[in-house]
């Protein structure tokens, strides 16, 4: 049953990618239906799970022994517990909606069948990632989603920028993957296994150094997949992919896999405080980093990408807090899945109506032309800034409280950072909202001279947006009533009540104040006065933020250019020095170089033959000598 969850989309991927052109007309529906089948299966399993008591909800399924070599025993085996179930519902639910949306969005793309094949492949890999019962199988899903992400970012391969972005995403992710691999090596040498059960149950017995090592390597992996500093540079470029991809993979699901990994490995982090500190630092830095970048981008998708980075920073920070934070990290992950996917789909709907224009400075006043998109996007907007009563308010507030509850100076610093983040979030999202839907229209003809005619999108696109908006509004309230979400996850992630040094009411009030400051600042800048179509030069900070705070430039100069110089000089060294040295050494013994030179004069064959003849003679002589 659990295996079927993965098998359905995998089958879809296989059929769509290997099938021929005759599937072009129906393929997208096949892909959508199989995603839906997975969702229905998940729902059935969910209902079944609810029927059992909290401690008895995990399901296990052992398929077969995969790689047995000595003490190394890797199995294809699944585990479905509350944590996995949460992800499975999110992945298949949002996944199905985005399949549906793509039917409309990709309608005019001649390679639509392949697009759906890749989407199905992504679902299968992502489900494998969250259903695996050991770290090696998780690794397969981990790199599997990386592959799907690579294929989908680079879907429009004819654009060099897309191809470059895809490669960059894969390579940066590979750095993280290497971290995951090393973590698995360490588990194997420590516990003799890398299955969740025995590793996590016995985590405390390992030495502090080992646990810190494993924790840091897992964090590296999480940084790659979840676009956390210092491996965040790929996410902005990944917006080259079609917008449904940005919504599903680069907002709602894949990029949150790092949070899953840390939460899943909670037992290791709980016993390794140094690694935990590293996790919260990464989360806090990324939270601000992404938010600042999000303020400066004029490309609507890149602004949202900065926001994603920042919101995942919140989740990572929460996961780094330990048992007081895991459940909140996952709760924010789910609500974020709703509103961020909804926001991206809204952005896609806007682009759909605006000749694929992405520059928000060339939008303006769209609320009159795209009312449904405006409403659904607006609800997502209210949710993400944490407007009281909507999803983001509950999930973000919980994280801010937990951050304060960390205690000591750390608690104050983290609390302040999360509050500051809330203000910046309100600022950049209000900016997006105002630039896109309010003010005067600032549309310009595209490069072919076509004036955009903004219009509402087709039903297949609007329905998913509406469903996600619904989730953005109500999920948070539902999750927090009677602590439903925390109680649901508690058996897996464990939970402790945090005790912030200031009252909960005070924190909530502060959060709302920060929100109002952010909204107000954005309104002063973009609502009150007309927006220039060409971005002003901006302050030094703005310019740096537009360039992703120069981190990418650093990568480019040091890693890319440096790497090019290194490989080029090595090519020279290999051709001249290594080759020459070995030939030269041989020459010293056997006059090889003289022969080589003659070879080039055209005596190749005769020399080779005589050389071999010599060898044969030598063998014969040796044998003869021994015989005598």
């Amino acid at each position: 049953m659990i295996g079927l969850l993965v098998a359905a989309p995998l089958l879809g991927a296989a059929v769509l990618l290997c099938g021929g052109r005759h599937l072009n007309r129906t393929g997208h529906w096949l892909g959508t239906v199989l995603a839906g089948v997975s969702f229905i299966l998940a729902a059935v399993l969910f209902v079944d799970m609810l029927g059992r008591p909290g401690d008895d909800r995990a399901l296990h399924q052992h398929l077969y022994s995969w790689v047995p070599v000595g003490g190394f025993q890797a199995d294809i085996a699944f585990q479905l517990d509350q944590l996995s179930m949460t992800f499975v519902l999110l992945i298949t639910g949002v996944g199905t909606l985005i399949h549906l949306y793509s039917v409309g969005y990709m309608e005019h793309d001649e390679r639509r069948r392949r697009f759906f094949g890749y989407l199905n492949l992504f679902l299968a890999a992502m489900l494998l990632l969250v259903l695996a019962d050991n770290f090696l199988l998780l690794y397969v899903g981990w790199e599997g989603v990386g592959l799907a992400s690579y294929l989908l970012i680079g879907f429009w391969q004819h654009k060099p920028s897309a191809a470059t972005a895809a490669k960059k995403a894969f390579v940066v992710n590979r750095v993280g993957d290497a971290g995951l691999a090393i973590a698995i090596f360490l588990m194997f040498t420590t516990f003799g296994t890398f299955a969740f059960g025995p590793v996590l149950a016995n985590a405390e017995e390992a030495t502090q150094a080992t646990l810190t090592g494993i924790g840091l390597m897992l964090l590296l992996a999480a940084c790659g997949k979840s676009a956390q500093v210092p491996l965040q540079s790929w996410l902005g470029d990944a917006m080259e992919g079609p917008t449904p991809v940005s919504a599903l993979i680069h907002a709602a699901t894949m990029v949150t896999a790092g949070v899953y990994l840390i939460t899943r490995s909670g037992a290791i982090f709980n016993a390794a405080p140094d690694a935990q500190t590293a996790v919260v630092v990464v989360g806090a830095v990324t939270l601000l980093f992404g938010a600042i970048v999000g303020c400066a981008k004029d490309d609507i998708k890149k602004a949202l990408a900065g926001s994603t980075m920042s919101q995942i920073g919140y989740m990572v920070l929460a996961a780094g807090l330990g048992p007081i934070g895991y459940a909140f990290a996952i709760m924010h992950l789910v609500t974020h899945g709703f509103f961020k996917a909804g926001l991206f789909l809204g952005a896609g709907s806007v682009m759909h109506g605006m000749n694929d224009e992405v520059d928000m400075r060339k939008y303006g006043g769209l609320r009159k032309y795209m009312p449904v998109t405006f409403v659904t996007f607006g609800l997502g907007y209210l949710a993400i800034i944490g407007f009281p009563g909507l999803s983001g308010f509950f999930s973000k507030d919980a994280i801010i409280e937990a951050a304060f509850a960390k205690g000591g100076t750390q608690g104050w610093v983290l609390g302040a950072v999360t509050l500051l983040g809330a203000a910046i979030t309100a600022y950049y999202m209000t900016r997006v909202m105002l630039l896109t839907f309010f003010g005067e229209k600032r549309w310009q003809p595209d490069k072919n001279g076509n004036e955009p005619h903004p219009h509402e999108s087709p039903k297949t696109m609007v329905i998913p947006m509406a469903v996600l908006a619904f989730g953005s509004v109500f999920a948070g309230g539902l999750f927090t009533s009677n602590d439903a979400f925390v109680n649901w996850l508690k058996p897996v992630t464990s939970f402790e009540h945090g005790h912030p040094p200031i009252g909960v009411a005070a924190i909530t009030t502060l959060t709302v104040v920060m929100l109002l400051i952010g909204v107000g600042a954005a309104w002063l800048q973009y609502g009150r006065r007309p927006v220039p179509v060409v971005a002003p030069r901006g302050s030094l900070v703005t310019r740096a933020a537009r360039r992703d705070l120069l981190q990418d430039d650093f990568n480019h100069v040091v890693l890319v250019r440096g790497g090019e110089h290194l490989t080029r000089s090595l090519v020279y060294v290999d051709n001249k020095l290594v080759d020459g040295a070995v030939n030269g050494t041989a020459a010293a013994f056997g006059g090889l170089s003289g022969r080589m030179r003659r070879v080039q004069n055209g005596f190749a064959r005769s020399y080779a033959v005589s050389m071999f003849g010599g060898a044969a003679l030598l063998v014969a002589v040796t044998l003869l000598m021994r015989a005598v």
Partner: protein, 538 residues
Amino acid sequence: MADTSFPLLTATAVLPALGAVATAAVPAARRNAAKWLALVVSLGTLALAAWVTLAFDPGGARYQLTESRAWIADFGVRYELGVDGIGVAMIALTALLIPFIIAAGWHDADPLEDTSPNRRWRPTQGFFALILMVEAMVIISFAATDVFLFYIFFEAMLIPMYFLIGGFGDRAHSAGEAEGAKQRSYAAVKFLLYNLVGGLVMLAAVIGLYVVTADQLGQGTFSMQQIAEARAAGDLAMATNIERLLFLGFFLAFAIKAPLWPLHTWLPNAMGESTAPVAVLITAVVDKVGTFAMLRFCLGLFPEASAWATPAIIALALVSIIYGALLAIGQRDIKRLVAYASISHFGFIVLGIFAMTSQGQGGATLYMVFHGLSTAALMLVAGFLISRRGSRLISDYGGVQKVAPVLAGTFLVGGLATLSLPGLAPFISEFLVLVGTFSRYPAAGIVATVGIVLAAVYVLLLYQRTMTGPVDKPEIERLPDLRPRELAVVAPLIALLIFLGLFPKPLTDIVNPAVEHTLSDVRKTDPEPALPEVEAAK
């Protein structure tokens, strides 16, 4: 097994040898008949190899299907064959790849159309006969349990390889036909000289081995089994220095063949200048004899010296991994890029062997097989691409996926296998090598892990530069997609890469016991986990 039973291993090697002779004898006018004959013979050999695999009992004796006949009695040279699980895997790989190599090279040796005076004579049937001859010699090498017998074929396979590289090279040369011919000759001779030098050193060591056994056992012998028995009984104890010298003599030959840094420079030339199927023959089949021989002969004959040399060899392997990958990133020629990638991969194989753990050596053995499959997939598709455009330069391509999506798709799968994507077979072997290395030498394991990041860079750069982007070259616009023959070559390879990636157990079942034997040769056991009780409770 009794010697009176059907000599299956001999038959598996003799069939392609006879096939080679028969193919060569086909008149030039009927070259299509020669091709079909070669293909049928290679498929027959595959059937025999399948029989070998099925007849092999993983739970049985170490060497099975043994044959033993006196040969040159005066020197204790015997015709002794036998396979352990590692040998079975290698024979199966060889027999499996040859039909694909033949089918992929179907038109590679067709008569040249140009009538220039310096046109070379290229007998079509000769090309296929040489491939079959190499197959026969490689199979004997994998099956030989007599050191001298092994040595003879280890050396002899250089001759057909030499002619395959020099006589039937790649004509896609940017600097023109004349310069191409020169480069081909250079590559062929370089291949020959490098390997001959290794072979001569090895010959000295082989003779040395004879002297030592003759000295200590009264009667010189090259038989692996006799030497192992004598060693176990305490009759044979080599002086430390002698053992180390002999080890180095063997190892040098194998390290040239494998090839290990810094003895690798012949490989890019040889793979670049030969046609793609021959390049696959070199790196996927012939070079594997080198790493196979390290496992069987270096470790089996000289366990103490192997342990002594391990730190240095691990260092060289790590250099190979990183250096090969960096060089691959810097290449401008598709085939040379694959060659340097192979150097990196051979580094992994050697690393796994000398990590002396069951994961390392089991992984190394699987790596030999899976690297054969992945390189074949990548290189053969690259060859199809090159034959269309007539250029090996990466910069002459771009946007191919737009005009030839199937070619691009299969190329990508080959590339993903090369970078060891999980789900495809090479991931398993690479991960095993890494984990096996890490469990004994953590630092080496971490350095080698850097290799997986670099692999992503060279594979995806290659794909990006050749397959993606706009179609801005007129030659690319007219590029046809894969033809049925070509698809028939690539599709089964890809299917195998996926199948073995998901279900490698049939192979690990065969290989594991052999690895245990090899480890007991060098008296090593796997390091215990820090918390063994967790493992026990599992």
